[in-house]
Homo-oligomer: 284 residues x 4
Amino acid sequence: MEHTYRLVISCPDRVGIVAKVSNFLSTYNGWITEASHHSDTQTGWFFMRHEIKATSIPFGLDQFRAAFEPIAREFNMNWHIADSAQPKKVILMCSKESHCVADLLHRWHSKEINAEIVAVISNHDDLRRMVEWHEIPYHHVPVSKENKEEAFAHIDELFQKYEADVVVLARYMQILPGELCEKYSGKVINIHHSFLPSFAGARPYHQAYSRGVKLIGATCHYVTQDLDEGPIIEQDVIRITHSDSIEDMVRLGKDVEKNVLARGLRSHIEDRVITYENKTVVFD
Amino acid sequence: MEHTYRLVISCPDRVGIVAKVSNFLSTYNGWITEASHHSDTQTGWFFMRHEIKATSIPFGLDQFRAAFEPIAREFNMNWHIADSAQPKKVILMCSKESHCVADLLHRWHSKEINAEIVAVISNHDDLRRMVEWHEIPYHHVPVSKENKEEAFAHIDELFQKYEADVVVLARYMQILPGELCEKYSGKVINIHHSFLPSFAGARPYHQAYSRGVKLIGATCHYVTQDLDEGPIIEQDVIRITHSDSIEDMVRLGKDVEKNVLARGLRSHIEDRVITYENKTVVFD
Amino acid sequence: MEHTYRLVISCPDRVGIVAKVSNFLSTYNGWITEASHHSDTQTGWFFMRHEIKATSIPFGLDQFRAAFEPIAREFNMNWHIADSAQPKKVILMCSKESHCVADLLHRWHSKEINAEIVAVISNHDDLRRMVEWHEIPYHHVPVSKENKEEAFAHIDELFQKYEADVVVLARYMQILPGELCEKYSGKVINIHHSFLPSFAGARPYHQAYSRGVKLIGATCHYVTQDLDEGPIIEQDVIRITHSDSIEDMVRLGKDVEKNVLARGLRSHIEDRVITYENKTVVFD
Amino acid sequence: MEHTYRLVISCPDRVGIVAKVSNFLSTYNGWITEASHHSDTQTGWFFMRHEIKATSIPFGLDQFRAAFEPIAREFNMNWHIADSAQPKKVILMCSKESHCVADLLHRWHSKEINAEIVAVISNHDDLRRMVEWHEIPYHHVPVSKENKEEAFAHIDELFQKYEADVVVLARYMQILPGELCEKYSGKVINIHHSFLPSFAGARPYHQAYSRGVKLIGATCHYVTQDLDEGPIIEQDVIRITHSDSIEDMVRLGKDVEKNVLARGLRSHIEDRVITYENKTVVFD
């Protein structure tokens, strides 16, 4: 994989943004390997992502930031630039269910995911052996009604200690406290085992079974204070029939969950996702 | 298409049902071309559908009914038998949107659907020319707040006059009164332009757009008194991205609506659908 | 739909293309509503499409062409600009099967397709009534072994008479002569009822049935002299099982064919397709 | 999971088969939890699978076989009965690519697959550590042009030593010799990384890339002496675009491969697959 810079911008739409940015890049001889744009006509907002060969530019990220700042100011941009050579630090959180964790660990192990899994945190000890085989630290932090506050204080410390860029709730069955949602806003990704907004909350497959739907799904989204209502990054579904029991739905759903979470996480890690108005722009 | 009888049964599950029914058929030399079974372990209910070559049996439907009745009584069966040579009579109801009506008319015109479309009823006059080209009577019955009661009384008369077996709400934008839902229970099919239970009610594509989902869908279901909550027959979805406007979603959604409605209607018309507990068994 | 210009470019990749083009547009105050780029790293070729609000630019297409020409020359561009207000002229060719023609006619009739269907040509007279209801001229040009040459000479005259921009083989069961493929290269679109390259040639559903595949598909592609081997624009599939007969496959396949053809044609008509090396770039 | 017997039958179609079989089961009080039938009208062949609660029948498999034999003879049945409590013995064969093996191992580890993975055989030593963590024996049997004969003789011995019921080629990059294909006919399952019959043979993603297809797929099939031409059990596809490189296709394809192989293997292991005429009946 070539070493690239990813320049991600959102700003009010107007004439001349692309010209300004591409001129800037061109002036420094920046070789664009990928460019994506989106104009949201309803909000009048503009979104843009460039992937640039790092070696084609004569300076590093700090200098880039300084040089680009005047343009950003002129166009009122929200923006950041990231370096593909600095993989994001990811913490996985899980409970007893292993499928999402095992899948992400294998993708990481086989170098499919360009990120560093720095730790796994779980309220149970079940997956320790699997995680430690990968030589990743495993933190068992039990959460109960009584110790909730201190448990999440400890979890917050772990986030800080590991300098996590992303936290993935890989079928972590606890609800993150509002303060943590707020504090790590845009950095916590959840996989919910339904096609949201249908069947938010607990036991979505049971809900789907009672309702008699003909497709079940999974949703990867950013965590916000409103349970299962954060911006959606990725979704997918699989067909079921009347002959599928809840157990069948759980089994079939796992494959959807794994793939949706992996795709959503990948998009986030590669700086392909921009959130606005509780929605996302995802540049594939 | 070979002339067949369709024997459709649901009853409490117990040992010996299949033996009894297949013996009965075998005794009369019945040639089974299709057989489907389903046991619902949660409710302990059993479902069964046979398709039998009509020419292989030495008598007609009335005699069949008389001969089978003792078995039905023994096993407490809900059951019926239908003749593929007696196509069901279908009334389409629509508003101004033409895609579902045009699609069903073409499937009927090209003999893909084995049913008789006996009339189209609409609260607007827009689609008259298209319908009448197919030599199908078109009834313009405007519905307003003021005339609702008499309009639906008139519509009910039309249902009776045409002896409709099935009524299809093919993007008919009015809500059927509770009495009609009740009276024609299990005979009225609706296409809703969302993946229910998400986005029930009005303007589902607008709802989907605001929520930022990554797939949109359509649902074919039986109409009950609870709006958009009847038993689901068929559903499907299509992928969208941030770059799709509401207009794009409407356009993409139309193709899903047409196909889902056509598949759901087909299943109903071929006596493949059994409802129970607000859900369906659909024998493909 | 807003009136737009579509600027479509392909050229050898190098630094500064985007800067040059977006500067050009920005200089004339061009408001970009959609921008898409693609770099093919294997061939070193670059592809680009802009959609620009026509009213934001102070001149028409001819002046645009003159002003842009120096840039195009500098970068060795293949390029063209099209006006969404000048809908392309489309000729449909069909045989006896009506589903694709009926579908396209309805999309056109309901203004979903922004094109002008100027004529339908068929080797049979079966669909005349359906076509003429839409007030579109219908040309019955029978093709046989004996009259092939003169039949296609006549067809070529019709293409010219109607100044067709696009010819759609909507299940036209004849093979276009090599000279016509050559002459109208990049302008003739075919729908093939299989997931190419599987099951090219005659009776693809029969081929699929014998092979026992679990999905069947359809492919929309440009016609070249090599039968069913031209650049693919769009494909899709649908799941089947062992219980589906060839007749079922034909029926299920029709829905895929219609949608794939409609999507492929739409991409072509909106100048979203660029061909290179017998492949396509399709900017959605 | 309830302990069940699976009775799988294929025979020439005629009146009375279902009656005979269901009477037999009913006589012994057999509780049918699943029943599936298929009549192939082209070949006049009939297929049938029953799943029966083991505890509902007053005897074991041997007695069942003896009691059923007369019926089987009368109808010229190919048939077998299997016991869900006797999980099939599976050998995995792999090369360096880990995704399919890791996926199957995890499904086995989490008890999703009701089978016993008795050994892994590979021509490379790369995946030893992963396999041995699961406490499954790993056999490194290098295959080269020179040692092919003795290598496969050794592999055959391993098949016998472990009494394998199923051999899964989980991206095993070697071609099994014809004698082994013959000897273990119907017991060796392969995953091919294309939507067969397209792109058989080597480097299917490269083939797909050159051809410019818009979907890539995977096929799970029984291995026969004709490379990639055995009966297909399961297939699926995923959408790609012009912007996906071969590397992207490899990555996206892996998820399809894993799921298709897992679903195909599951069907085989649960005795849901019957082969005939180089095709399969798969009773879901």
